[in-house]
Symmetry: C2
């Protein structure tokens, strides 16, 4: 199957489930949650989870709660990152950010509620009940102080400091990498993957997550607002510690390709997952 078709299928499947499983529209809080979730994301984390589940012999039904939980968790992090007190962004995916469309209190609470709802859906909808404790733990570790939120605060604290590669990679691994890694691992876990398969998926996701954020850094320097759907050049303006700031654009592109190769190599001998290979290629060649 082509990657385009797999991504389109995943988006249809996941958007349908998100629509069923999010609280109903017509209440301001719910509307804000739905606005942010349906603002046009690529559903990359659900696609990785679905491909990983398939790679270990699992079904779409098994992975759907994981896919939705990952997307809710990711969306909550975008809403909070965009807040005036953090990155203060007005535009996300070409549309007003949640606090600009609604208001700041609603955006804070919509983000909070999306995080909660991610855990709710995992606990309520996962067909393999025995997988729930590990899935909750995987998601919480990826989202928490050793993962996404820890990376976010390290990113804020590094603003204006002299960039160095070890620090950048450590921030990227937590801020973006942890949830991409969890996407692969939780997809495999939901499908009943073996410990060796989950280790391979973990190594794949770990390398790919850092590559993804390096490419994000490069695009912020080289692309236009029209292509990105958000304001470019913002990292430089905010004096963010990015990979290009530490090593230049060409070395950044090289490092992203290396990490992609590492990710793909990690799968060899453990899972046969052509879609995951294609996802890795997409991540380093994308233009938005």
């Amino acid at each position: 199957m082509s990657l385009d078709r797999f991504l389109a299928e995943t988006k249809t499947l996941v958007d349908g489930a998100l629509d069923r499983w999010l609280p109903p529209a017509g209440v301001k809080l719910h509307d804000a949650m739905r606005y942010a979730v349906f603002a046009g994301g690529k559903r990359l984390r659900p696609a990785i989870a679905r491909a990983a589940c398939r790679a270990v012999g699992g079904t779409d039904e098994q992975v759907l709660p994981v896919a939705c939980a990952l997307e809710m968790l990711h969306t909550y992090s975008l809403i909070h990152d965009d807040l005036p007190a953090i990155d203060d962004d007005d535009l996300r995916r070409g549309k007003p950010t949640c606090h600009r469309k609604f208001d700041e209190a609603t955006a804070i609470l919509a983000g909070d509620a999306l995080q909660t709802h991610a855990f709710l859906i995992l606990a309520e909808k996962t067909p393999r009940r025995e997988a729930v404790p590990t899935l909750v733990l995987d998601l919480a570790r990826a989202a928490g102080t050793d993962g996404m939120v820890g990376g976010e605060i390290a990113d804020i604290e590094a603003e204006g400091q002299a960039p160095d590669l070890a620090t950048v990679e450590s921030i990227h691994a937590r801020k973006t990498g942890a949830l991409l890694r969890a996407s692969a691992v939780m997809g495999g876990g939901a499908g009943g993957g073996s410990p060796a398969q989950l280790r391979a998926l973990s190594a794949y996701g770990q390398a790919l997550g850092v590559a993804f954020q390096i490419v994000d850094d490069i695009l912020d320097e080289t692309e236009t607002a029209e292509v990105l759907g958000k304001s470019p050049g913002k990292d430089r303006k905010d004096r963010k510690m990015t990979y290009p700031a530490a090593a230049g654009i060409e070395a950044s592109r090289q490092r992203a390709r290396e990490l992609k190769d590492t990710a793909v190599a990690a799968l060899e001998g453990a899972v046969d997952a052509p879609i995951l290979v294609k996802v890795a290629e997409l991540i380093v060649t994308r233009s938005k």
Copy 2:
């Protein structure tokens, strides 16, 4: 055992576990989480969970992760409620609020991380693994759009509206009641309570949660900042829809006592829990 001794024991036990299970001090994000968690709470939710667990024959070891998760979840909600965009409070439990002590970005992320950590601890530390899916679901339902966050946004939206009792009780049941109810139910669930026992604990927690918030409303009108450790009269200033605003102080006291009686009656024949009876009495007679 006296209630005072039970509460003191619970505080020692829970504070010890929180100290072990929270991420280590020395990192700004962790320091902010610890600052808020150790700002001097009464550990009421852990005490209810522990008493409920004991009432169904469970052990302290079984209930400790639930008790800590409840306190982390509660603390996250306080940090976010105090933010400038929501209630804009400078003082909490007699100390600067998290965003005043640190900064707004740190407070948002510390709240986020405490919510995540609550689910992490439930999934990682609960001794009865088979209880984890239901415990995660109980906590997520109490915290989410049908519970705490839903009540919080309804509370904001009701500001300045003509108060009516049905709306006030509905807001109170979600904003404060849902987590107190979950404290009783999850404590019983962690200890392996029967469905009938959990139903009784649920009814107890439901009534007690609303009583708790009515008493909070009364204290905001009648007590001083020294006693409360926060600015009194704020509900009236913010034109919050409170029980006293809807019915007056005396009718509010009467309603709190009625709800306490309902809570205690719900336990009869299902669990023998003298501590839960005493907690209910404390909640309606407390002065802070």
